[in-house]
Amino acid sequence: MLINATNLVAGYGGEPVLNGVDIELEAGQIGVIVGPNGAGKSTVLKSIFGLIGLQQGKVELEGENISDVPPNRRVGLGIAYVPQEMNIFQTLTVQENLEMGAYIRRDDYTSAMERMFDLFPPLKQKRNSIAGNLSGGQRQMVAIGRALMVDPRLLLLDEPTVGLSPAFVHDIIERIIAVARSNVGVLVVEQNARRALEIADTGFVLAGGRNLYTDTGENLLNNPAVAKSFLGR
């Protein structure tokens, strides 16, 4: 098991947002977290990455308990995180953004960078452009590319397609699949539930800070109760 987070209870002071969430994911698989706003989807990613402390529960990476490791050291352990907003360095060039992603790497990462340009060809021509001037889709590519520069074992993506035009949504989803095929576990939070569950190996439906359903993406898509939990009928 690549990542095994059990009974996560966490919040921002006051009442916890998560009231016991379980997440399990194998390497090379795509896990999708869906659910209504306020269900705690983003909070799950933040607590797996260590940005907020756990009140209860634990996070294990390949069987090793990493609950007390600070976030910048989790990068070194192979967890990369792409926040939902403000996820690129706007005043740096594309290439510098990628270099910052590789900040903790002491080895030669030119091959990783070339791989990134293969994965996201539009970035190659724009490598010396200021990232803040790129289009929304290209920014998202920079954001994901930055996270991938450490060759992570687990990639955490917080709503990577929000605000993107449909063509780019398709593009980004294709790339996520490609990343997972290179034996990286990808955990995605998505508002765009159907689209995301279609590519999910495992889907986690959250509500009120708890797991409501956990199943394969396909099963969840065909589960009428899931639709009901979304639309309240």
């Binding site: 990455f49 940005l51 976030p71 910048n72 050291r73 990068v75 070194g76 995180y81 926040p83 403000m86 996820n87 690129i88 360095f89 706007q90 005043t91 740096l92 510098e96 270099e99 910052m100 992603g101 900040y103 903790i104 200021i130 803040g132 930055r146 450490v150």
Partner: protein, 334 residues
């Protein structure tokens, strides 16, 4: 022709000189603002303290200068810069970091830097007194008089050795800073953290290292500015307050968080000061014959009287704050 030389001496050179000093201070202000998000009021005193360090080292190592053929105060600049950088890091550890750790409002960090500036002032004056000090007690200040190859020119362009050193140091510092910020891993991390501190943390950047690097650069440049200013004129202990607002003006004019903007801002403030008090009637007088007789050229025709020179940067500062608080070069990206 002499009038033009006078103009070059009085405006072009002296504006550039004070502009360079302001720029060296303003880069530090702007870097600290960009990365630590507060207005560092102790910066001007960091500059004077740097000059005092140089004074101490120069008195310990007197005689080094003549060997190198340079003023002793300049030769010991690396030592003074190192000491100032250490001081800057020490001040951060002692006074700013504990407050940052408590997630205090940035405005209270500003207040803390006021406290630090008072302490620095108190200590330097307690140990060094309040009298004016100069590096040139035993050495003499080389003055270059450059002949202008025109028949009409009888005066010379005058520039002193410290002023030449100032230009060289400023250009070298800016070049090195540019290389550091755009080429090195740590320099890029500094820009990254100024851009988006949370994402820098998420990328695994060690923010403590970046903060230390910021203080080192700010301290070194502050020492350079302070020492060169003291070499150019003299070291007055109450100098710091006179340069505090100009360097803030320079940093804000250039857009806070933008080192290159700070350089432009420093020069702009420096030239404005020089231009504002320049006596324009000197430039007009040669053309008196061409003007109708009823126009009388006053003996003094400057934009502001010399006594008001000090308020020129404040006026620029306030004008920029009100007109465009993001600085006039906001389009520029660091």
């Amino acid at each position: 022709m002499n009038e033009l030389i006078f103009f070059i001496n009085k405006v072009v050179l002296s504006g550039a000189i004070i502009g360079c000093i302001y720029a060296l201070g303003a880069i530090g202000i702007t870097l600290i603002f960009g990365i630590l998000r507060f207005a560092h009021f102790a910066h001007a005193d960091l500059m004077t303290t740097g000059a005092f360090f140089a004074l101490i080292f120069a008195s310990l190592l007197s005689g080094v200068g003549p060997i190198a053929g340079l003023p002793t105060g300049f030769v010991v600049l690396p030592l003074a810069a190192a000491a100032t950088a250490l001081l800057a890091i020490g001040l951060d550890r002692m006074f700013y970091r504990p407050l940052r750790a408590r997630n205090i409002k940035p405005i209270l960090l500003l207040v803390a830097s006021l406290g630090v500036t008072l302490m620095l002032q108190g200590i330097t004056r307690l140990f060094a007194g309040t009298s004016i000090r100069t590096f040139f007690t035993s050495e003499k200040k080389d003055i270059f008089r450059i002949d202008v190859p025109f028949d009409l020119a009888t005066r010379n362009i005058v520039i002193t050795e410290p002023q030449v050193l100032l230009f060289v140091t400023t250009i070298v510092s800016i070049f090195c800073l540019h290389q550091f910020l755009t080429r090195t891993r740590l320099g890029k991390a500094m820009r990254a953290m100024a851009d988006n501190a949370n994402l820098a943390l998420v990328s695994g950047i060690n923010t403590d290292t970046v903060v230390s690097a910021t203080w080192i650069i700010a301290g070194v440049l502050a020492a350079a500015g302070g020492v060169l200013l003291a070499l150019d004129v003299a070291l007055k202990p109450d100098l710091s307050f006179n340069i505090l607002l100009p360097i803030f003006a320079a940093a804000i004019v250039g857009g806070v968080g933008r080192p290159y903007g700070a350089i432009a801002g420093g020069l702009l403030v420096g030239f404005s000061e020089a231009l504002a008090v320049f006596n324009w009637s000197l430039l007009i007088r040669p053309f008196a014959d061409f003007l109708p007789a009823w126009i009388e050229i006053p003996t003094r025709l400057s934009i502001v009287p010399t006594e008001y020179k000090l308020i020129v940067p404040f006026v620029i500062l306030i004008a920029v704050l009100l007109w465009r608080p993001t600085g006039i070069f906001r389009g520029q990206i660091t």
